[in-house]
Symmetry: C2
Subunit: 133 residues, 2 copies
DNA sequence: GACGGATTTGACAATCGTTCCCGGCAGTAG
DNA sequence: CTACTGCCGGGAACGATTGTCAAATCCGTC
């Protein structure tokens, strides 16, 4: 335990490849999609390795992870601060949104009920203008 | 479609058993936990049947379903209107909360970005007063 | 530049929750 | 009561993810 800053991480081709994909990607993607993209680019990386590196990146708060209704875990590059997502259920386009009001409301509600160390998850789904037509 | 009152559903022992469990249960439970409880009570019901009935109840809005971080689907008896949950991450105690402000905010944000047919999910997690001590 | 120890990789098997399949059973209408 | 139709159950199938372990790779050091 002690220091959390420990990062005996090595700088491997595979780790770079995964990070590079995520840097490019606009929307959410599953581990398997990322594995496919890597294969297409010729940067073949083992599936296990993709999973491992995505988890590592998510643990390091460099990626956001969420589960879709099918039970798949989706990953996406994310700005660091606290925010939420507005996701098009058709094309997957994602908009980051902030809502200080909501944050305060959530904290207030939780405290009213005597809860501590409050966190929350909020996702908004809809059909974006382009897809609605 | 037409009338939603259609119920070509049969009134089986198994269906009653599952519904009865859910009526008793206070917190969230997974399909497999419910299957186990049924077995303990001697009301043995096939696992497939438990899954089917839970889904049916959730489709009928008699239960709320959500996925935990392990990818399991958890079910819980729920009041019918739209609301959210405040869940203790230690003991699982759940409080239903409403937030008209949040609903409006989510809809407004989505519309600002041209999204239609907006839905959202919101869960608040914390440690309840009892568990904090 | 080569060496050595530790970390990482990758192919495959294993796991876990959930769904599918299908023969047999049981509500329900007539 | 009889027939009809949906439901049940259990085991196989499935898909995402994780575990395993020898071989490859990285990196500080000589």
């Amino acid at each position: 335990m002690s220091t959390t800053s420990e990062s005996p991480q090595r700088n491997t081709r595979q780790r770079r490849a995964v990070a590079a994909i995520m840097a490019d990607l606009e929307g959410f993607a599953s581990a398997q999609q990322i594995h496919d993209i890597l294969k297409q680019r010729g940067e073949s990386v083992g599936l296990s390795t993709v999973y491992r590196n995505l988890q590592a990146l998510a643990d390091a708060d460099l990626l956001d992870a969420l589960r879709n209704d099918d039970g798949e875990t989706l990953y996406r590059r994310c700005s660091s601060g606290h925010h939420h997502h507005l996701v098009c259920r058709v094309c997957g386009r994602t908009v980051e949104v902030e809502g200080p009001t909501v944050e305060r409301w959530a904290d207030a509600v939780a405290e009213d009920h005597g809860f501590r160390d409050v966190e929350h998850t909020l996702e908004i789904f809809g059909t974006c203008g382009d897809c609605a037509s």
